[in-house]
Amino acid sequence: MRKKRFLTMERRDNYKGYLFAAPWVAGFLLFFLYPLSQSFLLSFSQIRDISIFQFAFQGLNNYRNAFLQDVNFVPLLMGSIRNTLLNTPIVVVFSLFIAILLNRNLRLKGLYRMGFLLPVLLGSGAVMQNLRGNAAVVDFTSGMQGASSGIESADLTGIGLTQQLTMMLGPVAAGYLQTVLNQVSAILWMSGIQIILFLGALQTIPVAYYEAALCDGASEWEKFWKITLPLSMPVVLLVTIYTIIDYFTHMDNSVMVYIIQVSFADFNLAYGSALSWIYFLFVSLFVAAAFLLMRRHVFYMGDK
């Protein structure tokens, strides 16, 4: 207690801040930043002996190989970028739409919320893989799914339900249905957290604004464009960035699958690290672009 009297306010805040942040920062440095920097070093080298973790500096060779020699990487990267650019706006608009619906006085709200969050709960784990595995066991006769849909959508629909529908409906109707289902499920599967974030934002908008608009005779449509959207712009930005990152770093993303394959199946760790860093650079470019494009439309209400 005595000692504290000699600390200035500013210094005391510093100490407190460091004390509070220390455990997290320590974990972050040790198990995130340090491995990251190691992988950065690794990306410029070639492994000599994996058992004692010895590697030799190689300059930009790995990076050069990624673009000039590897026939798989660039097409996969392009596909991943295209996929993200196409789907991000859809996911953002869809989840805002659903959040607005959920924010109204619907019956069975809890059920819908549970429903939209289920993919988040199921999709991340061994369960999904196991369901996929089961589907593969069940579906040993048909190659339809792999043929008609791209790598990513096939993965996202996963569960093998579409094949089951094919069995019931016949191939023609099921072909159309499958395309639609693939798209819908791809979007549903990616928008659970976004809906939650939007719901949080919508509930912070003061009811008084809507009442004022009601008195002035505004329609629902006008209320959306003049009140709801402008006031939730900060979260729209947040959700957009989250969605971009989520799409790029999802474990089903074809580039991610490729990086994992290169690093662990082929055990070419150095090259895998180089690919990761190239990928990281592209992802941050897109996030920065989204940020710059949307910044002028975002304004913050109140003191923040």
């Binding site: 500013e10 805040d13 100490y15 407190k16 801040g17 509070f20 942040a21 455990p23 997290w24 974990g27 972050f28 040790l30 198990f31 995130f32 491995p35 990251l36 992988s39 690794l42 973790f53 619906l101 619907l106 019956r107 809890g110 819908y112 919320r113 549970m114 429903g115 939209f116 969050l117 988040v120 709960l121 199921l122 991340s124 784990g125 061994a126 369960v127 196991n130 369901l131 089961n134 066991v137 006769t141 089951q164 549903l188 719901l199 949080g200 934002a201 912070t204 990152i245 790029f248 991610m256 690093s263 662990f264 895998g272 690290s273 690919l275 990761s276 990928y279 990281f280 941050s284 003191d303």
Partner: protein, 290 residues
């Protein structure tokens, strides 16, 4: 009788096609996301001939518990009792969740509410690291764990998962909505910083905490990676690992695998249902602008 007629009339007056399509659309979408869950549950109760039925059926016709019997049989033939895996999983997951929430909320609180040097730098680094794809860092993480002497201890399943940038980011976004003036008044009333954090800020960040609990529980409960990489003793491995060995049993074990999937998913759903009412309800409160 009269009451029913009245109800119908009231319903007629309120009925519009807009509402009809809203409800219908919602139910269809929810039904769609619920499909895998329903499929999982129904498969767990399918007798073996229905699992391999071609064309496959979605719902179970003759529900049976035989898959669970198979599971017990499959598991009994292993060296380690099944319950041991469950306990390992529960212990490491709960420890991870509790510690994650504690250190993440403290870190996020300090970055947002204590004005100390370097807090902006910390947050920027967190944002940047959100974008990095982690698989390439896995081997260096292993090196770090092994140098700390944590191989073959429960710590190896807990400590590396604690400082996740995503949760930090989520937590910080929520905490920044807490008005500074409330914390300020607590400090003026003589609360220490820790007291302010614990008794003022944390209750207002319940939504964030529940969200992080749900996500971190799901992620760690389902993660088999750790116990494969860091653990060599069979008795210390976790449930997802045990599950993967069961489903690796191939066609003969398909029923047991379905039952195992069902049992493994249950806790996730329970945690979510338990937390979800808080997630949404408290969101409304935590969002109040000062």
């Amino acid at each position: 009788m009269n009451g029913l007629a009245k109800r119908i009339r009231r319903f007629r007056r309120r009925f519009t096609w807009g509402w009809f399509f809203t409800y219908a659309g919602m139910l269809v979408l929810v039904g769609f996301t619920a499909l895998p869950l329903v499929y999982m549950v129904s498969t767990a109760f399918k007798p073996i001939d229905e699992i391999f039925l071609f064309p496959p059926r979605f719902f179970v016709r003759k529900p049976t518990l035989s898959n669970f019997g198979d599971l017990v049989a499959a598991v009994d033939s292993q060296v380690v009792p099944f319950l041991r895996y469950v306990i390992n999983s529960l212990f490491t997951t709960i420890m991870t969740v509790v510690l994650t929430v504690t250190i993440t909320s403290m870190g996020a609180y300090s970055v947002d509410k204590i004005k100390f040097l370097g807090r902006k730098a910390i947050f920027r680094i967190v944002i940047l690291s959100l974008m990095f794809s982690p698989p390439a860092a896995q081997i260096p993480i292993y090196m770090a764990v092994s140098r700390l002497g944590m191989i073959d201890t429960y710590w190896a399943l807990i400590v590396p998962n604690l400082a996740t940038p995503m949760y930090f980011f989520l937590m910080k976004q929520f905490i920044s909505q807490i008005p500074d003036s409330i914390l300020e008044s607590a400090r003026i009333d003589g609360a220490t910083e820790f007291r302010t954090y614990l008794s003022v800020a944390m209750p207002m960040a319940k939504a964030a905490i529940s969200t992080v609990v749900v996500f971190s529980f799901t992620a760690n409960w389902n993660n088999a990676g750790g116990s494969i990489i860091y653990i060599t003793k069979q008795a210390m491995r976790t449930l997802p690992f045990a599950m993967s060995t069961i489903s690796a049993g191939g066609l003969a074990r398909a029923g047991a695998a379905a039952a195992a999937v069902f049992l493994t998913t249950l806790p996730t759903i329970v945690v979510y249902v338990f937390m979800q009412s808080r997630v949404i309800k408290t969101m409304a409160f935590s969002g109040i602008k000062g």
